[in-house]
């Protein structure tokens, strides 16, 4: 059987197809890596939470939604200031349709989820403008590596997603510290990508840390410590631990490029087992350039779930077609995994149908 899946090969088609063939019909484990950073509260930076303080609740609420089908630490589901719901709705539907097991891993949280979660010894992140944003980076990487090694022993492959508001700004921070040109290239959950705000925050952080563009090219641990976020060491360690044994799909948008840069600097060998999995909305986004960042780092393929919400009966989902939200909580990678795990039995049409059902249920609309 060789049904075509609703997957776009956005870069390195040859390697991307090989990766997809390798995971086809296999049983994944989805790990949702969550963390918080004060960076998300810089005015105008993030849409992941209606008010800045809400961003502390978005990651635990997203994780609860994936595991329980509803949030516990907040009423309803996380929404943007315009009322567009979290992409965790997409992830939740994809994982449910393919019966994919979920594990939540915390890199450091202000608010803990009311579900089981893997504690990796991290703390919530500070504003990157301090130049001292993340604690215990090396230790969290080490613990996450141990976790990745163990989890890889009982999974065919791993899909790792993230939820951390402010994450594209911290991604720009680490990429810049490591000498990767990403200004104007990181994505945004908002229709107008606030590139200038992000660049300002990163420059302030690098200055405060006594660093500059590229000065930490060979020191990813310090790059995260200064201007990164606590999701990164957790995510990077999981890849380092798991990808030595099994394929790993890095499920996310331009934030994945910062993690990729970190892993590439620490343990490049494992990246032969890795791919980035995102959404069509990210790879076709005119205000960011995921391919342009990845190509500066490593020869890792970028796959995209060919999701299309243009025909949705809900404005909150149609908004995705206008470039709002675009990705998050591993939505694209989870969709790819659901299609691959079921050998194409799960299609983008079926996905939208289930997402609409969950949307109606959770947002109380018809």
């Amino acid at each position: 059987m060789n049904v075509n899946l609703d997957v776009i090969f956005a870069s390195n088609e040859f390697k991307g197809k090989a990766f997809l063939e390798e995971i086809r019909g296999k049983k994944p484990l989805f790990v949702c890596t969550i963390a918080t950073t004060e960076t998300a509260k810089i005015a105008g930076i993030s849409a992941a939470g209606k008010y800045p303080e809400f961003t502390d609740y978005t990651p635990p609420a997203d994780a609860e939604l994936l595991l329980l089908g509803k949030c516990k630490c907040i009423a309803g589901v996380p929404v943007t200031p315009d009322g567009i719901p979290t992409p965790a709705l997409i992830t939740m539907s994809a994982l449910h349709l393919a019966d994919v097991p979920v594990l939540t891993a915390s890199g450091g949280l202000k608010v803990k989820p009311q579900i089981p979660f893997l504690d990796l010894g991290g703390n919530p992140g500070r504003d990157i403008r301090t130049g001292n944003a993340v604690d215990n980076v090396a230790e969290v990487i080490a613990r996450a590596t141990t976790a990745g090694e163990q989890l890889a022993k009982h999974s065919d492959y791993m899909v790792i997603g993230e939820s951390i508001p402010g994450g594209t700004t911290t991604a720009l921070g680490v990429l810049s510290a490591m000498g990767i040109n990403a200004e104007g290239k990181v994505s945004s959950s908002m229709p107008e990508n606030p590139h200038e705000l992000k660049v300002e925050a990163v420059r302030a952080g690098l200055t405060a840390a006594g660093e500059r563009f590229g000065s930490l090219a060979k020191n990813p641990v310090r790059a995260i410590t200064c201007v990164g976020d606590p999701m990164m060491p957790a995510f990077a360690g999981l890849i380092i631990g798991a990808a030595g044994q099994i394929p790993v799909l890095m499920a996310g948008g331009t934030q994945m490029t910062a993690v990729l840069a970190v892993v590439n600097a620490l343990n490049p060998d494992v990246l032969c087992n890795a791919a980035v999995g995102t959404t069509r909305w990210v790879v076709s986004d005119a205000s960011s350039d995921i391919r342009g960042i990845v190509s500066q780092i490593a020869d890792v393929p970028v796959l995209a779930a060919d999701l299309d919400f243009g025909s949705s009966r809900f404005d909150g989902l149609k908004a995705y077609e206008k470039g709002i939200v675009k990705e998050g909580v591993g939505a694209g990678g989870a969709s790819i995994a659901a299609m691959a795990a079921t050998e194409g039995a799960v299609t983008k049409v079926m996905l939208l149908d289930d997402i609409e059902r969950n949307y109606a249920l959770l947002l109380g609309v018809k």
Copy 2:
């Protein structure tokens, strides 16, 4: 192939053999459930720590040993007051020989392990003599159930062990509250089983709680809350979540009977998929009676790893033959799983050999 494994069918031989056949050649996940209780600090109750305060470090140190092959939160390894090392040495060798993945789950800890661990929302336990020993019991059971459901999706079967000093006293507490006659029947890690001390503590706890023998037969949540420990809701929830889908080997001695009573009261149906796995030292112990307790609860088979340290060149291991330590950290169940997973390629002789190697390495002897 039908090699005989070094396993004793201690009760219900028919069901025990069926269980063993079911897991033979399959890939287990070992979950080490850890927690602490102030009950362990009652003078003369526990041998799991050279001084009472050390008992806070024993569970995290045991979990570190399983995952890393060495402890991080203490120097060396946990030892009894007589210098006999933790049974985690046995577990560690068994899991390593069969390449079994390990996950640590916390029910509530005073000292956190320096490794990844699953947080289930529990707190450290209080002295059962207060009659108010454990917080959040229903919530921890619910979260552990969720974790068990997810983990079962990517494991052939699960082996669950525990490390909690003072655990046979709290087991007696819950069994008594639930009307199961266990006085004089719970095991001990010490050569002289302090039955009187345990009975006194349990009676004090029941009185303080306004309860009596059997008054909580149908309320296991309150039984744990009053006179149990925080390992129990974590362990019970994992079984309830997992055993609906896959076999679960409850790896431990008489403490398992309290967990069995809790699960039997909450969700008896899942117990058709469960067995108790322990050591020969427990089932042949004259100072306790695991069969006598299990038979009052449910028709669940008891298997025992036929370990024999009589020929060991180390006095610290020979001591097991004198009834010291006997079991803990899932030593017996892990040994059974190692033998079953490798279809008998791992034998008790090979196990002792590896345990002696690790003993020499970790205790710095030759």
